[in-house]
Amino acid sequence: MNTALHQDFYVFATVVTAIFLEAAPFLLLGALVSSLLEVYCPPERIGNFVPQGRITGVLFGLVAGMLLPTCECGVVPIVRRLLLKKVPSHAAITYMLAAPVINPIVLASTYVAFRGDIRMVLGRVGLVALTAVTVGLSLGRINQFLVLPQGEASDMNHQQDSVGCDCGVDHGGDSQPRLIGALAHAAWEFLDMGKYLILGCFAAGLIKTFLPGTFLAVFENNLFLAVGGMMFLAVIVSVCSEADSFVAASFWSFPKAAQLSFVTIGPMVDLKLIMMYAGVFQRRVVLILIVVPTLIIYLASILLGTIVG
């Protein structure tokens, strides 16, 4: 094989495999939690537990992110299941955007990566919370079934069994233990979401392999370009939220505001997440999940960069 082609292919395959291997355990955890919810929690039980009001629901979603942390790959199947269980969309979406960042593990890694700079930790929490609440409130206007693609919503109404699933597994019946059903369900859920994860890995791998390593240097001396460049990088490299602070901190020549934008947009919008959103949500919702966080984080980072430096 031609040496350059060999090298390109090798790097591409390594990046794709590495991102998948890093994300797969968390995706599996999400699939397991989602399947246990599916089998053991009837909709009315969850519905009673989650506040129905918009403000209280959004706040509940935010706090749930602190108490039930999951990474961004694992949270999507959980939220899909919560929505199918009639959890209000504003609470579920707020939880989905906040949980990968507003949790002790990620905040500790942010603190370490930025060498104890508490402003970066607070900035990250504040920006993610602001974005999650804004998106949660704006999606609260949409009926929860509209959040899911038409096909799945229609399955909900017509083909589902007693717990709201069309996978063919008998979740609550006497013919098999419920746990066995939940585990089989987790396998399908993993494949369902894994498909989108792999597409995201392919996209990130292509860009990391073929984008010149020097392209970011063009952006670093101008705040507007630096924030935009770092946000673009966060979207394409698709690093998990536990590790992204270390990557951001390595771009020391960029303004702090640009580094902050990197660690806030990445866990909410990146290539693998976009693919997963597209597989779960309606197109209109996918658009909101991409555009609103991008705008809020870009503008807030510019503002912070101008005021604080």
Binding site: F9, Y10, L21, F190, K195, K208, W252
Partner: protein
């Protein structure tokens, strides 16, 4: 048809779980993920085998796109795994241990040099501790050259650090001042003996690239003034995974 679908999809999950479990025992796990995550990969692999085996028992309508995407990924990952690494001739193996303080130093021309990796050296340089800055160090990395650096007798010494996986890899390094940078080839592994010194860049950020790595931490003001640079074989594991704050350093 639904029976076949259940078998194929369950089989994919089982095969993926087996592959992940086997990878933990492979010599080049480090190429993809930091070795500290072996337990996580193994746990996920075992659970995938379990849930996949259970899923085999169920009838399910096959989903063609899911099957095609997973098979494409498996093919790509397998080819990548078995292809020789074109960026390093490193032979896989266990990491070298630097166990005692005596082994953590090398004597050259009567002077002791502390073995250190470039990440650890970068941390010392950033902290600006005079006592540590003044010491003599020996570090390994790959040479990155360009004509502008050649003209001023410098090259860049880089080594890749991995936080979690190859996707978040960062190339860490310094400019090295030496007599004949042209003696070394771009991408060649070398061992540099020398001291940290202010080495104000006469250039803008040197344009050096490492394929597949977008993030680079090249020290802006400090460099290594080399007393000797020698060609070496790549270390068994070329990446850095560990930063230590004192001797013996991870090297």
């Amino acid at each position: 048809m639904s029976k076949i679908g259940g078998l194929i999809e369950g089989g994919i999950v089982v095969a993926l779980g087996l592959a992940m479990s086997a990878l933990v025992r492979a010599d080049n796990y480090w190429l993809y993920l930091h070795p500290k995550f072996k337990w996580l990969t193994l746990t996920a692999g075992i659970i995938l085998v379990l849930v996949g085996t259970i899923a085999l028992l169920y009838n399910r309508r096959p989903n063609l796109s899911r099957i095609v995407i997973f098979l494409t990924f498996s093919t790509l990952a397998s080819i990548g795994y078995f292809l020789p690494n074109p960026t390093s001739s490193a032979t896989s193996g266990p990491p070298e241990e630097v166990s005692s303080k005596k082994e953590s130093r090398i004597v050259l021309d009567g002077e002791e040099y502390i073995k250190i990796n470039l990440g650890e050296l970068y941390a010392i340089s950033e902290k600006g501790l005079d006592e540590k800055r003044a010491a003599r160090y020996v570090a390994r990395g790959i040479v990155k050259r360009n004509p502008e650096l050649d003209e001023i007798g410098q090259f860049v010494l880089l080594r890749v650090f991995i936080w979690c996986c190859f996707a978040d890899a960062v190339a860490v390094g310094f400019r090295v001042q030496c007599d004949q940078p042209a003696k070394f080839l771009d991408g060649q592994w070398v061992r540099v003996y020398g001291q940290l010194q202010d080495l104000p860049s006469q250039l803008a950020e040197p344009t050096v690239q490492v394929k597949g790595i977008l993030s680079k931490a090249l020290h802006k003001t400090d460099g290594i003034v080399a007393t000797r640079v020698e060609k070496v074989e790549p270390p068994p594991i070329p990446f850095m995974f560990e930063f230590r704050k004192s001797e013996p350093y991870a090297y």
